[in-house]
């Protein structure tokens, strides 16, 4: 017994040391993985933390001081409120409001909000994060009382329904992301209509038709290289070709109805096509993967009953690979949805108040909005950026869940 023990010791005198090394490495590897997971947690916590919290609002005119003949304006009937509004704002502004929607047709709640916005003129003085709001509530209240005696402290959810449904505004209290979301949707539609047919067609060609010659090898290498080109390069390509060279097409001038002076190629069509180019290689690669997953026996069986090549592809290969193609395409679109740099380069407008009307409209997009608000130094714009990031992430999560669902629901194993 003892001798065998000694033998072992002789054979592996450094065994304890090696086991120590093993333990240290294992701990290190685990720690690295933990750090990776922690990054995601931190990112999410930071964004939620900035999307909610206390804020102090200061009014140009205190809402409590607004009264007509001693009666607070808030207790007046709607008609009198409208009258009050008319008396206290400029005629031009009143006309503009009437043009948007006649005031008497608006609800009492809307009129109240208008009076607050137009006459009381609230301004965000300071904001706090969610964690501060929870753990330092009393300090916040003290600071608010001391530094903003006229101000009003309230808990603000920067992400709320009004935020999602309001158009862009330069006032952080009333700014929303509806125009940005609409812009993103329009861009996606253009990108999908362009890149899905072309990408799928290319994938079918490479998988089903391409013989192994120099041209096809070059084409395949080229796809892989395209997938690695930085997105900003696609941006300047779009700027040179879609915005500048194809200006008559992308500005809609070719269809008429656009004055020569306002012709501008920086439209949704240009942006969508640029994003389409960007995701084309991804769609091709993913679709190829899906087509490759269809076993050869299915094709052989189809040929066996006398189908032609295209009949085989159309009625057997494609139906069997559609789930995989859709999953890959959705993942590609979620990539396009968050792309910012190419849109900035082709010149997406940042301040757009109206929803896009057609593919020839100027546009802004959700990531552009986030970029703009993040680059403003004021805290309240950072809050807006965080809230829009939350919306963006929720939309992306929805898209990805859909992709995973499709993959699991329709997956076939052969």
């Amino acid at each position: 017994m003892m001798s065998s023990n000694m033998k072992e010791q002789k054979k592996a005198p450094n065994l304890p040391a090696r086991h120590r090394v093993e333990k240290i490495w294992k701990g290190g590897l685990f720690l690295s993985t933990l750090i990776g997971v922690l990054f995601l947690a931190l990112l999410l916590v930071k964004i939620v933390n900035d999307s909610f919290g206390y804020m102090v609002v200061e009014y140009g005119l205190s809402p409590n001081a607004m009264a007509v003949n001693g009666v607070p304006v808030w207790d007046l009937p709607k008609e009198d409120k409208v009258l009050f509004l008319q008396e206290n704002i400029t005629p031009g502004r009143f006309k503009k409001l009437m043009k948007e929607k006649p005031l008497l047709e608006r609800s009492d709640k809307e009129i109240k909000a208008l009076i607050l916005q137009e006459i009381a003129k609230p301004k965000v003085a300071q904001t706090w994060t969610l964690s501060q709001s929870i753990f330092q509530k009393s300090e916040i209240q003290a600071t608010a009382l001391q530094e903003y005696p006229q101000g009003e402290l309230s808990f603000k959810a920067w992400l709320n329904w009004d935020f999602i449904t309001s158009p862009q505004s330069s006032d952080p209290l009333y700014a929303g992301i509806r125009t940005a979301i609409m812009g993103s949707l329009f861009l996606m539609i253009v990108a999908i209509l362009f890149s899905l047919p072309v990408g799928l067609g290319a994938a079918i060609y490479f998988e089903e038709f391409a013989v192994d010659n120099w041209l096809n090898r070059l084409l395949k290498t080229n796809i892989n290289n395209l997938a690695g080109v930085p997105s900003i390069i696609y941006g300047i390509l779009g700027l040179a070709i879609f915005v500048r060279l194809w200006e008559p097409v992308t500005s809609g001038a070719i269809l008429g109805g656009v004055e020569a002076a306002t012709i501008n190629g920086r439209t949704i069509l240009s942006g969508g096509l640029t994003l389409g180019l960007l995701i084309l290689p991804i769609i091709i690669i993913n679709s190829q993967e899906a087509l490759r997953g269809v076993p050869f026996t299915i094709r052989e069986a189809s040929y066996g009953v006398g189908a032609t090549k295209w009949q085989t592809i159309w009625s057997h290969v494609l139906p069997n690979s559609i789930p995989g193609i859709m999953t890959g395409a959705i993942l590609a679109f979620s990539r396009a949805f968050g792309e910012t740099a190419p849109l900035v380069v082709i010149g997406a407008s940042t301040y757009i108040v109206y929803d896009p009307a057609s593919i020839f409209s100027k546009f802004t997009a959700l990531p552009i909005q986030i970029y703009q608000w993040t680059s403003r130094p004021q805290d309240e714009f950072r809050n807006l950026a965080a809230a829009s990031i939350l919306v963006l992430l929720i939309l992306l999560l929805g898209l990805n869940t859909l992709a995973i669902y499709l993959r699991n629901r329709y997956r076939r194993t052969y």
Partner: protein, 316 residues
């Protein structure tokens, strides 16, 4: 699909097919031609990128104030006084990418080794989706994170005097977090592809787990791992929104990561963000810088593909 070969429906259908075969043949040629055009379209994109970038870059170099030599070696980028040296932009790109790689390569490889060699099925099933989510978050979100979280953290740790509000370190770290899942997932694929028998052989000689991982599995997967790192570097060099938000505006020749400096991509975004007039020096300059960026990333991608092909150990 009917399994019964004798079914009359099938016979009928196959008759239909033989009949239609004759009529559909010219159509098939058209379809095949269309599909070929789709495939050809992709090379058109590459040609268009190279053509447009070169064309506008040539306009840039045609300016009497610019020479290619000055562009590549000049230490000042100040278009206002006709100084067009790309070195300050290049060093900023280099510094941010280096920091990103210092974060992403060690962490990414460690995560990959842990996932492929140590993690249980359950842990892998949780960590891999988390990595996928991290990889799917838009870069502008990382820019927000860098500017509003990492920068204050750095300033709190090292002092607001040493760390500028906009600094390359913050952008680099955020970029590292962005690239970490990319490197981890490609590396994990490479490590998992190493056959079990190699590991078993190592164990049978009395190796510990980490010895097998580091001395057998990692060398065997070396080509995949280095390709992952090269792809990561190329991604870092082309990354735009993080540096545009966090690294600062204005070219600055410095190697100090706590100072602000503009990278190539950051410059392109800032210049084109305003209303850029065509054929101006600014407009042409972004194409010249874009060409340089394209060439660098293109070669990195080519090298990474060559490494995969050349050093791959083929197993049955």
């Amino acid at each position: 699909m009917s399994e019964n070969a004798q079914s009359p429906a099938l016979i009928l259908r196959s008759k239909k097919i033989t009949r239609s075969r004759r009529t559909r043949r010219p159509g098939e040629a058209v379809i095949t031609a269309f599909l070929f055009l789709c495939g050809l379209f992709s090379i058109l994109i590459t040609v268009a990128i190279i053509f447009e970038l070169t064309k506008e870059a040539l306009l840039f170099f045609a300016d009497p104030n610019v020479t290619i030599w000055n562009f590549l070696t000049g230490l000042k980028w100040q278009p206002k006084i006709n100084q067009f040296g790309v070195i300050p932009l290049l060093t900023a790109t280099l510094v941010t990418s280096t920091i990103a790689m210092l974060v992403a390569i060690p962490l990414g490889l460690m995560v990959a080794i842990y996932l492929s060699e140590y993690a249980s099925q359950k842990v892998r099933g949780t960590v891999k989706p988390i990595m996928e989510i991290l990889a799917g978050i838009p870069t502008v979100v990382y820019g927000f994170f860098a500017l509003t979280f990492i920068t204050p953290l750095l300033r709190g740790t090292f002092g607001a005097d040493t760390v500028n509000i906009y600094n390359m370190a913050s952008a680099g770290i955020a970029m590292g977090i962005l690239i970490l899942p990319l490197i981890a997932s490609i590396s994990e694929d490479a490590l998992s592809a190493v056959p079990r028998t190699l590991r078993e052989a190592g164990y049978s000689l009395g190796s510990t787990k980490i010895e097998v991982a580091l001395k057998i599995v990692v060398p065997a997967a070396f080509s995949g791992l280095s390709a992952a790192c090269l792809l990561g570097i190329s991604r870092a060099i082309g990354e735009t929104m993080i540096v545009a938000l966090a690294a600062g505006a204005g070219p600055n020749l410095t190697l100090n990561p706590f100072h602000s400096a503009e990278t190539m991509t950051g410059y392109m975004v800032r210049i084109s963000g305003g209303d850029l007039s065509y054929d101006s020096m600014d407009y042409n300059s972004i194409f010249a810088i874009g060409l340089l960026l394209f060439v660098i990333t293109f070669f990195l991608n080519l090298i990474s593909r060559w490494v995969v092909g050349h050093f791959r150990e083929a197993y049955q």
